[in-house]
């Protein structure tokens, strides 16, 4: 189906700008321009949302720090043998957040850990949200309007989803992590592959609700194919659910890494927030009152998760016509 599916559910995405000199432009460039304008408008509206900007900026700062970390962190300081301080130094001049059990600066570790943690958080979320959304929309759509063939597809998808769904997430992740070679990729896969069914379920429920609305029938009466209905009508209407899931999943994924470590499935040699937490735990820092080793990684995860939520919230405010103009 070649139906155009406006994938960016931007605000007021169409140009009510009056008859412009459109002559001489190819439809393709027009479409491109339309999309660009929609994006611009989206950006403008987004920029007006203060909380959203705050979230975005803090994410960007964290991301930039993580990316440029090699420039200002001496990597030998992150090795066990090259640790610059004494073990468990409390926060102070040289080490603003103190040191860990090897004498490495906790601040350095946090910044460096962002590299892995953000990767895990983003990729795992991406994998599970896109998988879940795709499965949910497809199953919901074909289940309600696909004809017999579609229904078969839908029920297969749903069976698979249901089947994944009943597998206890954590247990499955543990098994996956145990079978696959240790590493960030495995963690991403283990999380991504086990978390999606919940998203799929939610999205499917929402899809079914949307599919029952007359405007979907109108779209079909207009000749819109499956892709059109799913992309143009269903997707924007499941976006709130997807956004809510996404914001939750980013934190979940980052934490899942440390949870897997807690259960003995992590890779203690990588530096990530989850691994830091786990290292803090195994070193007994919690009951020893070495708070500077435990609190920062936890807070870092929370800050990222909150920033994501603020962004998600702002996007939602921009794309939901009824919320427009508020907040």
């Amino acid at each position: 189906m070649s139906a155009p599916t406006g994938s960016v559910p931007g605000p007021r995405p169409e140009p009510p700008t009056g008859p412009e000199p459109t002559a001489g432009r190819s439809p393709r460039s027009l479409a491109r321009r339309r999309r660009r304008e929609a994006l611009l408008r989206f950006a403008r509206e987004y920029a007006r949302n203060r909380a959203g900007m705050f979230g975005l900026v803090s994410l960007l700062v964290i991301g930039a720090l993580a990316l440029t970390a090699p420039l200002f962190i001496d990597q030998t300081h992150l090795t066990v043998t090259g640790a610059p301080g004494d073990p468990f130094q409390p926060p102070g001049g040289d080490h603003p957040l103190g040191t860990d059990n090897f004498g490495r600066s906790v601040l350095d570790l946090i910044i460096w850990g962002a590299r892995v943690s953000l990767t895990v958080g983003l990729l795992a979320t991406f994998v599970s949200v896109s998988l879940g959304t795709l499965a949910g929309i497809t199953a919901g759509h074909f289940g309600s309007s696909g004809g017999t063939g579609g229904r078969v597809v839908a029920s297969i998808i749903m069976r698979v989803t249901d089947w994944f769904l009943v597998l206890p997430t954590l247990v499955l992740a543990v098994a996956l992590a145990a079978v696959l070679p240790r590493g960030t990729g495995t963690i991403i896969l283990a999380i991504g592959l086990t978390v999606w069914p919940a998203t799929a379920r939610l999205v499917r429920a929402q899809t079914l609700a949307v599919e029952a609305r007359p405007y979907v029938e109108r779209a079909r009466a207009l000749g819109g194919g499956h892709a059109h209905v799913m992309g143009w009508h269903v997707l924007p209407n499941v976006m709130p659910v997807v956004l809510a899931q996404t914001t939750l999943l980013v934190a979940t994924s980052i934490i899942a890494e440390s949870t897997l470590a807690f259960l003995g499935m992590g890779d203690p040699t990588t530096i990530s927030w989850g691994a830091l937490l786990q290292a803090a735990r195994t070193s007994g820092a919690i009951s020893a009152g070495i708070w500077w080793y435990i609190v920062p990684p936890g807070l870092a995860i929370a800050v990222v998760a909150l920033s994501f939520t603020l962004c998600g919230r702002a996007v939602e405010a921009v794309i939901n016509p009824r919320l427009r103009g508020r907040s």
Binding site: V80, F88, D267, T269, S287
Partner: protein
């Protein structure tokens, strides 16, 4: 309610596999059963040597094949029956004859020919071959009149019998009275114990699956004793009033072994160890490149002793440490580099050496991910070996993956560690050629080590009944191990424990100097522990605590509820 007596609470984490003394294997259960059933011989906390227990004395025949133990005559089981030589003989014979009953202690009787009760007080054990470990038979002696019917009834299913008929009937200083899986285990003192009544009326083991929670419980007084602490925890507990920490000499060693090329007993090669590691020079260079002191510092935060020989210094008779000339493998990266240069291991462009056969020195190192000290040591080793041009592929993995790699010989370096008993025979036996696998995957030990000299020395020490001569042989065994650089001991981690002095007055360490409390080879600690004067029962508080806790919870709820209610009241009017 019977909790009026004094109680000693221990935080434990490991689950109970079985209270069947024939099958129980996990550390927690063997530790507990040690207080329930006496052994023939125990260990003297002062001398670290064998001490009389059920057996008042023992003697050996000339050929060393017959051992005669004289039993005490004042030992009664907790059901009032007297313990006789018949019980002892039956216990040993059962283990020898019944596979299911051999699960826990089969290794002690493998060299036994026959065990007989000469009379009520005398047990005679006949051996196939001399066996120097006869005074270290860690076999619980059980009442025949209780276990024989069970054995008959269970038959083949005996191995699944978990001994959950409580209270147990035993001769030890405590009687196991209660077990609530995953919650607690209760032992009551046996006031009629032949050695004298224990100081505490109750020994209460409480489950804490999270160590930090256990430490907090120690702080709050809910438990009297915790063990297996970390350095950070010890450091912070040290300064706490009413808490004493005990840093004991380690019984364990932490080591890594090098795959020297795995072979079966028939000489069939298998696995995929790095071929260059067959070269002794390379192995020695690897060991020289590693600073055990640094591993003590970084890997164990100082709570360990840098190792030389195989057996920890705690067993001063058997411990051996390379001195002077012998210390050929001391940390010396320059020398290591030199050795490698000389042996033709050229550095490649990336700084990684290549063996004379053209194999790049990239070695897979397997580390237990669940052992923080191993993980940390692994990091140090990886970084240090880089200094001598060896690249380490650090595989910090699950024990399962690690053991697969070990048994399939698909590793280059691998971490290992053993807790060494007062008699080191077993940990030595695993490096004999006889421990090599009969076919791939069936190895007994933890390294594919096989050395004729070693095997000879091993046989000799096993047959040597003279302690000093035996110690000498064992020293030489360790020297061989050290030289061959296959089994490389890194550190002896300290044992870190803490207890509340306002609950426990005084207890016996084993050994008395630098000894530990938990996991003693005897039952000295809990038998000797005396309740402190001020000892409030550690769990005496909860009911008041409960009242306070629930009160506070309720208060919070009420306040929150009221807040919400009034807030709603005030805003309800003006909202649409």
């Amino acid at each position: 309610q019977e909790g009026d007596g004094s109680r000693l609470t221990v935080a434990i984490a490991q689950q109970v596999d079985s209270f069947n003394p024939f099958t129980a294997q996990l550390a927690v259960t063997t530790n507990i059963l040690r207080h329930v059933y006496d052994r023939l011989v125990t260990i003297d906390p002062e001398t670290n040597g064998p001490a009389p227990s059920l057996a008042e004395g023992w003697e050996t025949s000339e050929d060393g094949l017959t051992w005669t133990f004289d039993l005490r005559d004042d030992v009664y089981f907790s059901d009032g029956e007297q313990l006789t030589a018949d019980d002892v003989a039956w216990t040993f014979t059962t283990i020898m004859e019944n596979d299911a009953a051999a699960i826990a202690s089969g290794n002690y009787v493998s060299g036994f020919e026959k065990v007989t009760a000469e009379d009520d007080r005398t047990v005679v054990i006949e051996l196939d071959e001399p066996q120097a470990t006869m005074t270290a038979l860690n076999v619980p002696i059980v009442p025949r009149h209780v276990w024989e019917p069970i054995l008959e009834e269970e038959g083949d299913a005996f191995s699944e019998y978990t001994g959950d008929d409580l209270p147990t009937v035993g001769s030890g200083p405590f009687v196991l009275t209660e077990h609530s899986r995953g919650e607690h285990i209760m032992l009551r003192a046996n006031p009629d114990h032949w050695r004298g009544a224990p100081g505490f009326d109750e020994l209460y083991f409480r489950y804490y699956s999270e160590k930090d929670a256990a430490v907090e419980a120690l702080r709050s007084g809910e438990v009297s004793f915790v063990y297996e602490l970390t350095d950070a925890q010890i450091t912070s507990l040290e300064s706490v009033e009413d808490i004493a920490v005990n840093i004991a000499d380690g019984k364990r060693f932490q080591a890594f072994t090098i795959n020297p090329g795995a072979v079966t007993q028939d000489g069939e090669e298998f696995g995929d160890g790095h071929p260059a590691l067959e070269d002794l020079t390379l192995r020695q260079a690897i060991v020289k490149a590693i600073d055990n002191e640094e591993i003590v510092r970084q890997g164990s935060n100082g709570q360990a002793v840098a190792a030389g020989g195989y057996i920890p210094p705690r067993y001063s008779d058997f411990h051996w440490s390379p001195e002077g000339e012998e210390a050929i493998l001391d940390f010396d990266p320059d020398a290591a580099n030199e050795m490698l240069d000389e042996a033709g291991y050229e550095r490649g462009d990336d700084g990684v050496r290549v063996s004379p056969d053209g194999d790049r020195l990239e070695l897979r190192m397997f580390v237990h991910s669940d052992r923080p000290d191993n993980v940390q040591a692994g990091l140090v080793i990886a970084e240090r070996l880089a200094d001598v041009g060896i690249e380490i592929d650090n595989r910090t993995v699950d024990p399962g993956i690690l053991s697969d790699a070990l048994y399939d010989a698909e590793y280059d370096l691998i971490f290992t560690g053993w807790t060494v008993n007062p008699d080191p025979d077993y940990v030595l036996s695993i490096h004999t050629c006889g421990a090599l696998p009969t076919e791939p995957g069936t190895m007994q030990g933890d390294a594919y080590f096989c050395d004729e000299e070693y095997d000879e020395l091993y046989e000799a020490q096993l047959a040597e009944y003279d302690p000093e001569k035996r110690a000498e042989l064992i020293h030489r065994l360790q020297e061989v191990l050290y030289r061959e650089a296959v089994v490389n001991v890194l550190t002896y981690p300290n044992i870190l424990e803490a207890y509340r002095t306002d609950q426990i007055e005084d207890l016996q360490l084993e050994p008395a100097e630098g000894g530990n409390i938990w996991g003693q080879d005897g039952y000295w600690a809990w038998w000797s522990a005396q309740p402190a004067e001020t000892s409030g029962s550690p769990t005496g508080g909860p009911s008041t605590g409960a009242v306070i806790g629930i009160g506070v919870g309720a208060l919070v709820l009420v306040v929150a509820g009221a807040f919400l209610f009034f807030r709603r009241r005030s805003t309800m009017e003006d909202r649409e």
